[in-house]
Assembly symmetry: C2
């Protein structure tokens, strides 16, 4: 018998909700006999494809989201603090996380870089910072940072992002459970229900929704 | 001793999450000795002020949000089905809900119009539909629909919307608990904690976040 498909976790270090979901998802998946595969994904490219703004780009929302994430972190019992800078350039951190690694090693890298970003660390902005974090894990930080800038690594991150967009992703974190898309920290309870075979989706109403006509349109939209 | 301040619930009939929050919020508030005051608010104006898109304006997100709302409705144990049209023009429904009414009457009107929209009803699009729903409540639907188009009523809805924007609202549902903003169905557990005096907001980290510098900016943003 083949192993069940892993849950695919699309994330960007920019997102506090991705950090929080990463703390909780592996345990939920494990309860249902599933692994989690972390897939670095460019949040900016998802926003660009959807033609919308990220929460940190709307001033009132930026403040709120941090409070909301802080409240959720408290509920989950995990450390949470703002990174030294935000938004920052996540490319190097995403690229080292996109290298051709054993998935267990990738998970340790992702956990370490997320902790450095949202768990009270020094951020993941800059080569020296990222290299030191990888070295702390017993990995060859210098080699990994060098490899991160190869065309193959850049292409791998871009391909994962394009695949996420093609599969319907519009934000992070996005989880795919056997091809079904879930978005956001607050969807974890629905992921749990899906993995347990208790997803209450009503295909009749869903099909009606897909064919619901619009009778109004916002000006300028 | 004066009564505690009611929880202010800003909503638009366009939002399935506002419908769901309206099913759950009064009971949460009541547990803490609070009333809920429903404040009709133009979602389109909030989006315009934030310069962003609504979920129904991003095709992949539109499908997802309906599924997510369906899952949440199931968890809450409340009926949920797509309205006959979406987006629809919510102005008349919002305006009759903005009339100078006793708050208990307003709550019944809001419940009835929400049920007609997301609870399997015939929608709230059109004068005849709205009038009939009000008549069913034993109200004078014809007079209310007439009064809804008065300049005073239009101004009241606009003023409530402007006040919400000024207070930091960027979407619906938005709840204000003693001036503190909460957004979205998933924030109800945080509303509950706040009302119980257990809001874990860390003012030190929040202040750091307010002063966190940006070291990157998305192209075109």
């Amino acid at each position: 018998m083949s192993s069940p498909e892993p849950v695919r976790f699309h994330f960007d270090y920019l997102s506090p909700y991705a950090y929080l979901a990463w703390q909780a998802l592996p345990e939920i998946a494990a309860r249902h006999g599933r692994e989690v595969v972390a897939v670095p994904t460019l949040f900016a490219a998802l926003l660009g494809a959807a033609g919308t703004k990220g929460p940190a780009e709307i001033p009132a929302k930026r403040v709120y989201v941090f409070k909301d994430a802080m409240r959720s972190a408290h509920a989950l019992g995990v450390p949470f603090a703002p990174p030294p800078a935000h938004p920052f350039n996540p490319l190097l951190a995403l690229r080292v996380s996109s290298l051709d690694l054993d998935e267990a090693v990738r998970a340790r890298v992702v956990s370490r870089l997320f902790a450095a970003t949202w768990g009270g660390g020094a951020g993941v902005d800059g080569e020296a910072t990222v290299r030191a974090l990888l070295d702390e894990l017993g990995l060859d930080g210098a080699a990994m940072v060098r490899e991160a800038s190869s065309d193959a690594t850049k292409a791998r991150l871009r391909a994962a992002t394009d695949a996420a967009i093609a599969a319907g992703a519009f934000g992070v974190p996005t989880m795919f459970v056997d091809g079904e898309l879930f978005w956001g920290l607050d969807s974890l309870r629905h992921v749990d229900a899906r993995l347990a075979g208790r997803d209450p989706i009503d295909d009749v109403d869903l099909s009606r929704w897909a064919h619901t006509p619009a009778t109004a349109k916002r000006r300028g939209s």
